[in-house]
Chain length 319, copies 2
């Protein structure tokens, strides 16, 4: 196995391989973050879905289990994003990943605390805003990614090289990556790392329900859809409830009517409780590449080994 | 410059680099096909938009200008697809690229003629059908591609490795690729070639209007949209007319109402006649990577040189 893959992202984060385990609602608690950190990539506690006290205790549990760095992901749409940030900083977290919102909101506090700041964006416009606000690393997340997504529907393959050309800070690719081929492709595009969600949601250490993990394993290339576009676009595996929301959308429902059908707590029901027909099974188009539920360290090992194998394959086809 | 990039696709097609110039409505006549063939990739005459006699004369003009192989693309949605196929075979064309329809329709005639058959698909399901029908090469086209697109909205990055795992025939990647980084990324994913549309529509030799080409050069990452989904999904640059169709879609218009708003001949108006506000400017999300209108041979040269440069970059980051 390659000893190291070196980019500006590994330098900034002090990790061996430029892989970020993404924060995911109901799926990325301290166990997954610790397993990833111990496997020499960036492990992340996803605060989405966590109350403030729960986030604090999750960080403390992680700290007790590993001496490696852990990141906390904070979705900026949360009303108490500033409070979550204070908890993370207070507990000694020195890598913050912000997403789903305006980066300028928390920028002054993040910069004052002197922590490393990673912001997730769906387009060049948002990437420039994040860089201007002081982000150290920008994650470009494509249309194929699971969970919440941008309105411009730009795919990872199209977004990453354009983002790399537009920014001077290092760019990390997210969306559609679940094996070493995607890892290598992302770095070919100019990314200096990858951020991986669904593949890590489908590990032993993920806090998601086994029935959710099994739904991801069963999913094929066409199993997911980006829907609820008039509220906040989200990608999930199609099921009875998703079809109901999509039908309302297609019929031209207003935002208010759609919010009624969309309801609340469906992500908890689907991902944490394993209700596969009535819950929101957030997952990316890479689900079709995921065929087993394995330890996070094994995911990392495969990423690195396949990266190396496929790079060797590419070296042989040119002459 | 690398002398050759060898895959099963270059073996089957007898070309030096595994690059297919895609057939594009109003943009890929004999001049572009000849320029690409002479640059040692697969040049293609796109029959979409051409009457039967025009296709015949286009093939004859190409034949008079090059001894290299030329392909003809036939959209299977055309009512006279069988007649177009007979013309192509009768004129000695030995590579047929079919797209936008059921591959079983023309398969018996294509196989009986003994020509090389390439079929374009948006998903694994369609890829398996094409392979079963006897296709020699399958092109997987992602959501980010310009022009007509599949209903499952699978992106190139997610589709290609899944298609490679599902099929035994070689897979070519289409959608989102406009430079050597995308070329390398596609091959990293397991594709054995790339099919490139928008970048070649923006060359000197393309028959598209200069105002269309300039609109592609001006487009950024978020400039295109996939719309008209209830008729037949198509990706084009947003303009006044596209917004009108999108507004009708969002309001829940029926298929019939949408056909009324969508109208006819908008692709001719936009791409051939250069009406940038009222025409359909079919183009992919890679438009943001395209910054100049250059000869097709220069496009090929850049693809190959950037492939090599980026492969060398990747070799240096592992240890």
């Amino acid at each position: 196995m390659i000893d190291q893959i070196r980019t500006r992202v590994t330098e900034i984060l002090g990790i061996r391989y430029p892989i970020l385990q993404a924060g995911m609602i109901w799926a990325s608690g301290y166990k997954l973050a610790v397993a990833c950190a111990e496997a020499d990539i960036l492990g992340t506690i996803g605060s989405a879905g966590m109350k403030q006290d729960l986030l604090r205790s999750q960080i403390q549990k992680a700290r007790a289990l590993t001496k490696k760095r852990i990141a906390v992901n904070i979705p900026l749409l949360r009303g108490d994003a500033a409070e979550l940030l204070e908890i993370a900083i207070g507990e000694g977290i020195d890598v913050i990943i912000s997403s789903a919102g305006n980066p300028a909101l928390l920028a002054p506090r993040i910069k004052a605390a002197g922590v490393t700041w990673i912001h997730v964006v769906p387009s060049i416009k948002h990437g420039k805003k994040a860089q201007d606000a002081g982000a150290d690393i920008v994650v470009g997340e494509g249309f194929e990614a699971g969970g919440h997504n941008g309105v411009d529907e730009i795919t990872t393959l199209a977004l990453i090289p354009q983002l790399v050309d537009a920014l001077s800070v290092p760019v990390v690719a997210a969306g559609g990556i679940a094996d070493g081929r995607g890892f290598l492709a992302a770095l070919a595009l100019g990314a200096e790392g990858i951020s991986v969600g669904t593949r890590f949601a489908c590990t032993i250490e993920s806090s998601s329900h086994t029935l959710y993990k099994e739904a991801v394993v069963a999913a094929n290339d066409a199993a997911t859809t980006l829907f609820a576009k008039r509220i906040a676009p989200v990608r999930a595996i199609k099921n009875r409830w998703v079809e109901e929301v999509r039908k309302a959308e297609a019929a031209g429902a207003t935002r208010e009517e759609l919010e009624q059908v969309y309801g609340r707590s469906h992500s908890r029901r689907g991902i944490l409780e394993g209700n596969v027909e009535e819950g929101e099974l957030e997952a990316g188009q890479s689900s079709g590449l995921i065929r087993d539920i394995i330890p996070a360290a094994e995911v990392v090992k495969r990423f690195v080994e396949e990266f190396e194998q496929n790079l060797n394959r590419l070296r042989r086809i040119q002459s």
